[in-house]
């Protein structure tokens, strides 16, 4: 089944290289295009977005109209989202101002109001600072380590070879495995006396505890790297497809060796998709609850007490709901900067790329 899908359509990610090359924005999808195309195409051109800004102001894109707007169609989705998103978020903010624990929980609306005391207590506590350090350093490490792996994988599978479809399918597996399965499996692999320790022993790494103590941090880094490198791979692959074949030909004519071509022709083109991948990867890692939770269990070892796990323990083990809500809001502040950059970089508006496309003609 896998072979069928991969074999018949040899290029699962990289369809239409010609179209992609001619239309780097990926905006020219016909009827047969897929969500995959649109997203991959749209996401891979961050650098192009600012150029489009002035154009968007003056000219609305084709297909977006102000006439006869059936705004009522927003009602079902809008109402549902208000109920399940806006209300909980507002309540979360309110809770973070309350002295809410298991004693005041039953009558939470009349719990004592503390103002920003929870926020202060959270920053002053060593736990939160420790968790922030752990979360950020593990997220950055994983992001940095997955970068060369993902890029190398994309470079190696860009050209057709026998079995490439299958290889590409296999490369997706670690990423699509549910995190709870990945965590369960690696928990068994890394346990004392498990196959991981045995294998590492053959490679000269002394046996030790991977699920407890200082090495647990590295266990988390290794497992999350294993699970997340295909993200960079996918984005790089999408970026490679947008490189015009004439660029390759020009490089070949100039007699550039593979390294020179890579360094001066290919890599400069990949800056956009790669930096996008780094951003998403960092955001994923910081927010990842499932993997650390399943891999180490709670209470988790001190060295891997990442932010989501800390807020979870603080609320559902220690029942300090108010404090935990404040911690969750702090973690929101932690991702605010990368998130803001991400939102600036991603193509949001249909109008902008339409006008941008016209501007290029």
């Amino acid at each position: 089944m896998t072979t069928g899908a991969g074999g018949n359509t040899p290029v699962p990610v990289s369809r239409r290289p010609e179209t992609a090359a001619a239309e780097p924005v990926g905006a020219a999808q016909g009827k047969r295009s897929t969500a995959g195309d649109a997203v991959a195409g749209g996401l891979t051109t961050p650098a192009a977005v600012p150029e489009a800004q002035p154009a968007r102001k003056s000219k609305r894109g084709r297909g977006v109209t102000r006439r006869q707007r059936p705004l009522w169609m927003l009602a079902p989705g809008g109402t549902l989202m208000t109920i399940v998103i806006v209300v909980p978020l507002a309540v979360a903010l309110y809770i973070s101002l309350l002295d809410l624990d298991q004693y005041t929980f039953r009558e939470w609306t009349s719990a004592p109001f503390k103002g920003f005391a929870n926020y202060l207590e959270a920053v002053r506590s060593a736990d939160l600072v420790h968790s922030i350090v752990i979360s950020v350093s593990y997220a950055l490490l994983v992001t940095v380590i997955t970068l060369p792996i993902g890029v190398a994988a994309a470079l190696a599978t860009q050209n057709a070879f026998a079995g490439r479809g299958l290889v590409r399918s296999v490369f997706l597996v670690p990423y699509v495995l549910p995190a709870f399965v990945t965590g369960t499996v690696w928990h068994i692999i890394l346990q004392p006396g498990g196959v991981g320790n045995l294998l590492l022993g053959h490679l000269g790494v002394p046996n030790g505890l991977w699920l407890n103590g200082p090495r647990s941090f590295w266990a988390l880094v290794i497992v999350q790297t294993w699970a997340s490198w295909p993200l960079i791979y996918l984005l790089t692959l999408a970026g490679l497809q947008s490189i015009d074949v004439t660029m390759h030909e020009a490089a070949a004519l100039d007699g550039a060796g593979w390294w020179a071509k890579l360094r001066y022709v290919i890599l400069p083109h990949l800056g956009g998709p790669i930096s996008l991948g780094l951003l998403i990867s960092f955001l994923h890692n910081v927010n990842n609850f499932t993997l650390p939770y399943v891999l180490f269990g709670v209470p988790s070892p001190h060295d891997v007490e990442v932010l989501p796990v800390l807020t979870y323990v603080e609320s559902f083990q220690n029942f300090r709901f108010g404090l935990a809500a404040a911690m969750a809001v702090w973690s929101l502040a932690l991702i605010a900067i990368p998130l803001a950059v991400y939102l600036r970089v991603v193509r949001l508006d249909v109008g902008s790329d339409e006008s941008q496309r016209r501007a290029r003609r």
Binding site: A156, P174, L177, V245, E249, W258, F316
Partner: protein, 288 residues
């Protein structure tokens, strides 16, 4: 022509290319194949760190159904994630259509919010939801925590924005001329949505449904707090399975691995079957 362009566009020298591919295949397939080997191995052998089983024992796949209530878990996951998928897909068409085709104040902010919501820490939603559900139980004596409804509602929080975003990216690709023509012919907006947009957007619908489904299927955070043993999902059943058995002499590792494979199989099959449609959504980041 084809061969020429293949040599011209080659990025890595052949030996290096082969090395990278083989290395990564080993790194990926090593742990994956180990899961399978361990699932047909004896617990003692897994505990001893054997990679290959001494003799194949497929009995673990029969035993998991009685040791832990995996079938209830799978059923709950299927019901909750399935409902979320259907609701999200249906709701997202209308929202996505308006967002793609019509200009109105706040449109870009909504688009931005759809993406931003993917990065909200789950605990920030879980806390208020837990408190709200508990107070509904107090005030109206309607117990929500522990029911499938609790999961359904909370999964919508993350699945709705993501499905809508997927629909937006899909509908962007549809030519606007089609519904402009219908509009000129005097069709109402609802009519256009029903007879023109909907029939054309089934691939987008499928993708947005699959992603909504996977959000539910893969979740541990919400399910671990909001369910009880009768309503727990496969994900929680698996984690509980791993923990509770550790009182015994040797935990049933083989069964644990078999159960992990059973939980992962539907997801991996879905991805590989629909991979050309799903890859774009993967890189947007809601699911992981």
């Amino acid at each position: 022509m084809k061969t020429r362009s293949a040599t011209v566009t080659r990025l890595l020298p052949r030996p290096l290319q082969i090395t990278v591919v083989v290395l990564l295949l080993v790194v990926v397939l090593g742990p994956v194949s180990y899961v399978f080997f361990a699932s047909v191995n004896s617990d003692l052998s897994v505990a001893a760190g054997d990679f290959l089983p001494h003799r194949l024992d497929f009995g673990n796949y029969a035993r998991i159904w009685s040791t832990v209530d995996l079938s209830t878990g799978l059923m709950n996951s299927l019901i909750v994630a399935g409902t979320v998928a259907v609701v999200c897909a249906l709701v997202s068409v209308g929202t996505g259509y308006v967002l793609v085709r019509f200009a109105f104040t706040g449109r870009v902010s909504i688009l931005r919010a759809l993406l931003a919501l993917q990065s909200i820490p789950g605990t920030l939603i879980l806390l208020p939801v837990f408190v709200l559900f508990a107070s509904v139980a107090n005030v109206l004596s309607v117990q929500i925590i522990g029911t499938r409804w609790a999961l359904f509602i909370t999964y919508l929080t993350f699945a709705l924005p993501f499905s809508t975003w997927v629909m937006v990216t899909y509908l962007r690709g549809l030519p606007a001329e089609l519904d402009e023509a219908a509009r000129i012919d005097g069709a109402s907006s609802f009519r256009i949505l029903r007879s023109i947009v909907l029939p054309l957007s089934w691939p987008g619908l499928v993708v947005s449904a699959i992603f909504a489904f996977l959000l539910g299927w893969n979740d541990v955070l919400f399910a671990s707090v909001l369910t009880n043993p009768q309503t727990r999902t496969a994900a929680v059943a698996l984690t509980v399975f791993g923990v509770t058995q550790e009182g015994g002499a040797i935990p049933p590792y083989g069964q644990l691995m078999a159960a992990a494979l059973v939980c992962a199989a539907p997801v991996v099959v879905l991805y590989l079957a629909f991979q050309r449609y799903l890859v774009g959504g993967l890189t947007t980041g809601g699911v992981k």
